[in-house]
Symmetry: C2
Subunit: 133 residues, 2 copies
DNA sequence: GTCAATCCCGACCTTTTTAATCGGGATAGA
DNA sequence: TCTATCCCGATTAAAAAGGTCGGGATTGAC
């Protein structure tokens, strides 16, 4: 339950791209000036591209652009892209001594928690992050 | 944004203690039968005790008990105890090139996210986890 | 009073994950 | 053709998580 550099960097990069708009593609070196190691950022942007959140223009004068409008990208999209899908609890998998195996209360309660968190994160869009709304 | 073994173990232990009720203190060795390494669990229970979630009876016939009623302990209490308080975003701390420093949109949006998540987690009590409500 | 069961605690080690670096290849505008 | 750029896998370094160990303190049972 913690915010990693990966997510923080990805958020910064996406917010920056959102602020830049559709004008021109922003080169990696420019985005990295937001305070991130350029080589590491490159990996993250690759991941974001593979998940369809940014698109690229290759070659000279190339760079990165948002793949969709900022209002159409949520924090859940970004976090899921770089951190993977939000994990589910495994609940009493080992010895079974504590009984109840599959449909135990912990599982049900945890299910409620994860979907609740997903909702919260999914309600914040990239444009919200730009405007602070 | 992931569930660690620490949290999973702590949840199991707390749920087990909740199921045992106020009858007798449960020794570490018994709790560990839920499928956790005993020495590691000991550390976790020490942390939970320091945060006032369990109390102990020392000496022979001793063990661990919930410090409060199961309805009065939430998932937020447990997670905060073992993982520390839910972190806040730092937002653009390095070069300042991306402008806006303090009260930027990302900070505001992230603030909303963390408090939202806290609410979700805080609404699930230990007794909810036992009953699955 | 002794003994055994128990909590207590800090130090250490191992494994996994995260973060960062590097080198070379592909692409395309000027 | 040259250079700025994306692309990508391999490697390393740093940090965190997960787990182990040994010895000390407490206390009920006998």
């Amino acid at each position: 339950m913690k915010l990693t550099s990966k997510t923080r960097y990805a958020m910064r990069a996406m917010v920056f791209l959102a602020e830049c708009g559709e004008s021109a593609p922003q080169p990696l070196s420019r985005i990295a000036q937001c305070g991130m190691p350029v080589n590491y950022l490159e990996q993250l942007l690759g991941t974001l591209r593979k998940h369809g959140l940014v698109r690229t223009v290759r070659g000279n004068q190339g760079g990165y652009l948002l793949a969709r409008s900022a209002g159409d990208i949520t924090l859940l999209d970004i976090i899921t892209a770089v951190e993977g899908p939000i994990k589910k609890s495994l609940c009493y998998t080992n010895t079974g001594v504590c009984s109840k195996q599959e449909n135990c209360g912990v599982n049900k309660a945890w299910e409620k928690v994860t979907s609740g968190i997903e909702q919260v994160i999914n309600r914040v869009s990239l444009s919200d992050m730009v405007t602070g709304s």
